[in-house]
């Protein structure tokens, strides 16, 4: 097999259950308890019993051997487990690995899970080690890295802080339609609000940065033959790919071009769809610059043109591109590693459109007739990039 023949995983597996737990503030709950609640709720959603789970995939900043700790907590003896830690995109890579293990017959039911109580125990939590050749200068990671990329982007494409702020304004507009969002009742943002927020690392201010919340999530995956018999609309994994080119921002080959160019190209190729076929677009927006970079790198516009694409709230609820429809990491939830929430939103939109009850939203919060979603995860400092393409059965 070669790179031209990578569609053997297309449609072979599906998500049949999902849940989130403790999003926002979950005082009195540990990261493990939040993660385990998510797993049990997702299994209930799927109608699958705990003891049928034989594949466990997990990452969190609170457990260095997360898959093993979670398995023990749940009382499982998995036949395959993966706790790969590549930052916030880990879960999208776990989904790829789970699909491989399911398709190979190593396992029959996989759970991919995450949990964090960072907010209720004091703030942003990371297990990232200090970077050699960088730490001495005291960068405020990860913000400094994203600020370096943002500054370079502004320089190369004559972009302004207003261009970045447009992203935060649209994200908030989506959150105002989503009762699950942390900022659901916090009112809209203006560009001026974003520009006048407390500066953190120039050019990024507080409202260019994601939320700091608690929260956990889980999805349940099976092979597609079994997925047909579960109680929800199965959502099929049509394409998945990952790539990374650096760990430290000082080693990033090009500050304004991420390896999402490569991951998305291969994921779309596997799916047999292209970016413009996607009905919903869920991008890992840890900072406002992310959304601009990923809109370009996934192929929604040319390099440097995202600043035009996000003008006039065009990625907001009334716009032409349905981007980060839950409110994103900027305005919905961000417990430190956001990747599984990108996935949840991509799948929830498709299930809602197919008639499943996945929660209430105000007018326009659910996308009519959504059949295809792209979920894109980012990890580290624009380092690891993982793209998943999801679709309903008629897209197979």
């Amino acid at each position: 097999m070669n790179q031209n023949d990578i569609n053997n995983l297309r449609g072979k597996t599906a998500v049949v259950g999902l849940a989130e737990s403790g999003c926002g503030m979950a005082s009195g709950w540990s990261a493990m308890e939040i993660m385990a609640n998510s797993v049990h709720d997702a299994l209930d959603d799927a109608g699958i019993k705990l003891n049928e789970v034989d594949g466990v995939f997990a990452a969190t900043a609170f457990h260095s051997m997360a898959a093993m700790s979670l398995s023990e907590y749940l009382g499982l003896k998995p036949k395959f487990a993966d706790g790969s830690q590549i930052g916030g995109s880990s879960f999208l890579s776990h989904i790829l690995t789970a699909a491989l293990a399911l398709d190979a017959g190593l396992i029959n039911v996989a759970v991919v899970a995450y949990g964090s109580n960072q907010k209720s125990i004091g703030g942003f939590k990371t297990i990232s080690e200090a970077m050699p050749y960088e730490a001495q200068y005291e960068p405020r990671m990860p913000v400094t890295a994203y600020a370096l990329a943002a500054k370079r982007y502004m320089h190369e494409f004559r972009a302004s802080r207003e261009d970045l702020a447009n992203v935060a304004v649209s994200a908030r507009d989506w959150a105002l339609l989503n009762p699950r969002a942390y900022t659901y009742d916090k009112g809209p943002l203006t560009v001026e609000d974003v520009l006048s927020a407390r500066p953190i690392v120039d050019p990024l201010g507080k409202l260019d940065c994601c939320l700091v919340t608690d929260g956990g999530a889980a999805v349940i995956m099976t092979r597609s033959d079994r997925a047909k018999d579960t109680k929800n609309t199965p959502i099929y994994l049509l394409g998945a790919a990952m790539e990374h080119h650096h760990r430290m921002v000082s080693e990033m080959p090009d500050l304004v071009r991420t390896s999402a160019i490569d991951s998305s190209q291969r994921a779309f190729k596997m799916s047999s769809y292209k970016a413009t076929d996607m009905d919903t677009i869920q991008l890992y927006d840890a900072f406002t610059i992310n959304t601009l970079l990923f809109l370009e790198d996934l192929g929604f516009c040319k390099k440097g043109e995202a600043i035009e694409l996000v003008k006039n709230n065009n990625i907001g609820p009334s716009g032409s591109l349905k981007v980060n429809t839950n409110g994103g990491g900027l305005s919905c939830v961000h417990p430190g590693m956001y990747g599984l929430f990108v996935t949840l939103e991509a799948i929830r939109q498709l299930r809602n459109s197919a008639g499943d009850n996945v929660g209430e939203r105000s007018g326009g919060g659910w996308i009519d007739n959504a059949k295809l979603s792209v979920a894109h995860g980012n990890g580290g400092v624009l380092s690891s990039q993982v793209t998943n393409v999801w679709g309903v059965s008629e897209t197979l």
């Binding site: 001495q136 200068y137 005291e138 400094t144 370096l148 500066p199 120039d202 050019p203 500050l255």
Partner: protein
């Protein structure tokens, strides 16, 4: 490389040792005639191991720059930049001797070795003219 590595130090420690001696040294692959940073045991991506240490010219260009906001009682705002050395490689460093938010992409800078948090560090100043 001898299997037990005895009597030698790794490139990270060697880089620091040079800094302690007041030298900003970077590695060069002899067969490729290419410089690279950060220090490694072999040339990244193709693995050549015929390396030598060469004193950097210290001249570079600001590739990107940020002002990191910090409370005055904790030391105040400071600059953090990515510098592309004239030899080719890029590195993180601070640009000093100028307001931390006044550094511009494209400015030429020159390295000096200073002490940062008790350890020798490469710091850059704006190259005038």
């Amino acid at each position: 490389m001898p299997e037990n590595l005895k009597g030698l130090v790794g490139p990270e420690q060697q880089f620091k040792n040079y800094l302690s001696e007041g030298k900003f040294m970077i590695q060069r692959c002899k067969s490729l005639d290419k410089f690279f940073f950060h220090p490694r045991v072999a040339f990244p991506s193709t693995g050549e191991r015929d390396l030598e240490w060469v004193e950097a010219s210290g001249i570079g260009t600001v590739h990107s720059t940020t002002c990191n906001r910090r409370l005055p009682e904790k030391g105040g705002d400071f600059n953090l930049s990515l510098i592309t050395l004239d030899e080719g490689p890029r590195m993180m460093a601070r640009v000093e001797g100028i307001e931390p938010d006044k550094v511009q992409i494209g400015q030429k800078v020159k390295a000096r070795i200073s002490i940062l948090n008790g350890e020798p560090a490469v710091i850059f100043d704006i190259l005038q003219g």
